[in-house]
Amino acid sequence: MELDALKDQLKLGLESNRFYQKPDLLQSAMLMKAESVVKKIKQSVVAETALAIVASVAFVYFAFAYPSFSFRMYFGAFSCISISFVFALLALRLKLHKLDSDLSVKQNLLDTQSVIKAYVRHYFRFCMILLPVCLCMAVFVFLFEFNSVTPNQSIFTFYMFSHLWLPLIICYFLFSLGMFFFTKLYLQKLYGEHLQLLENLIQELENE
């Protein structure tokens, strides 16, 4: 049995199964919220941009207003990170807005894949950058404050190493390892399957 022999009947069957018949529903469909992955990423990016702006303002305020020098440095470092994060998010938003659903299927798949990959990459990098920054800044604040409170006491003794630094370093490494795998797993769960699907579709289109 050939496809061509049943062409008209097949077409009719697919077209006539109308599950959405009321005309006013068409109008309401235009006002509804989309459920696509790209739409969800767009919403996430908007929320993250708003949060990053609020955090930047707060960090900048504390970087100038806080009385302690070490805390001013601490908040200063985080202001730089959050401000650069705002710009990264704005660039991603621009990329998302350029996504055009009336491009050819292949181009649309390529663009969607590139945007989702960029989002996943950006999210992962940000999480990983925060780990050493948080540690370094915490150590810096601790050393600075410790020295200002007890200027004659050294913190780099064997006792301090075994009772403070070593447990802290072990905790930091375990926490970093956990964060690394958790972030990877989280992103894979959220977007991994969809990215794989897009990859397969692109490959199938390209194969002759």
């Binding site: 062409k7 235009m30 659903s101």
Partner: protein
């Protein structure tokens, strides 16, 4: 374009959206969701439509792009049987023809998403060049894929017919 104009335009061409939804979504809820998503994307993108191509070609692009990147709420494992049963057949036909149609629908529903896109356009009498334009591949590639696809559909539908 005004909302009313758009609704009239979509209403005139909604068969394209129904066709894509019936092929790509299985459950009633998924079909409705996909229908909304396509309508929404078409409404958002209508300003970009400059009339370089036919409106139907443009709508096919939007519908297929939406369907291919649509995140289904339920498991992607298909409920092919219920989906095929839900399709409206014209019952004035011979039972034998009905069975052949059912077999072909089953075979089409078992295809990959890209092959479904090819079938959708082919059923609407698009030539290979136009199909290539919508999909973003060459007419030669479309021809190769279509030959393979027709053979596959023939085999699959016959397999179904012999098993019943």
């Amino acid at each position: 374009m005004e909302e009313k104009e758009f609704i009239a335009l979509i209403t005139n061409h909604q068969r394209i959206i129904y066709k894509v939804c019936n092929l790509y979504a299985q459950s009633h809820t998924d079909k409705e969701d996909l229908f909304q998503e396509i309508t929404l994307n078409a409404w958002k993108g209508i300003r970009n439509f400059k009339g370089d191509s036919l409106f139907t070609t443009w709508l096919y692009r939007v519908a297929l792009n939406t369907a291919l990147t649509f995140k289904r709420k339920e498991n992607r494992q298909r409920k092919v049987d219920s989906a095929v049963d839900a399709l409206a057949f014209s019952h004035d036909q011979q039972p034998e023809a009905d069975e052949q149609l059912t077999a072909m629908y089953k075979a089409i529903h078992g295809l990959s998403d890209i092959d479904k896109a090819l079938v959708t356009l082919y059923l609407d009498d698009y030539d290979y060049k136009e199909m290539g334009n919508v999909l973003g591949i060459t007419a030669n590639n479309v021809a190769v894929k279509m030959n393979r696809l027709k053979k596959k559909l023939k085999e699959e539908s016959e397999k179904y017919l012999y098993s019943h």
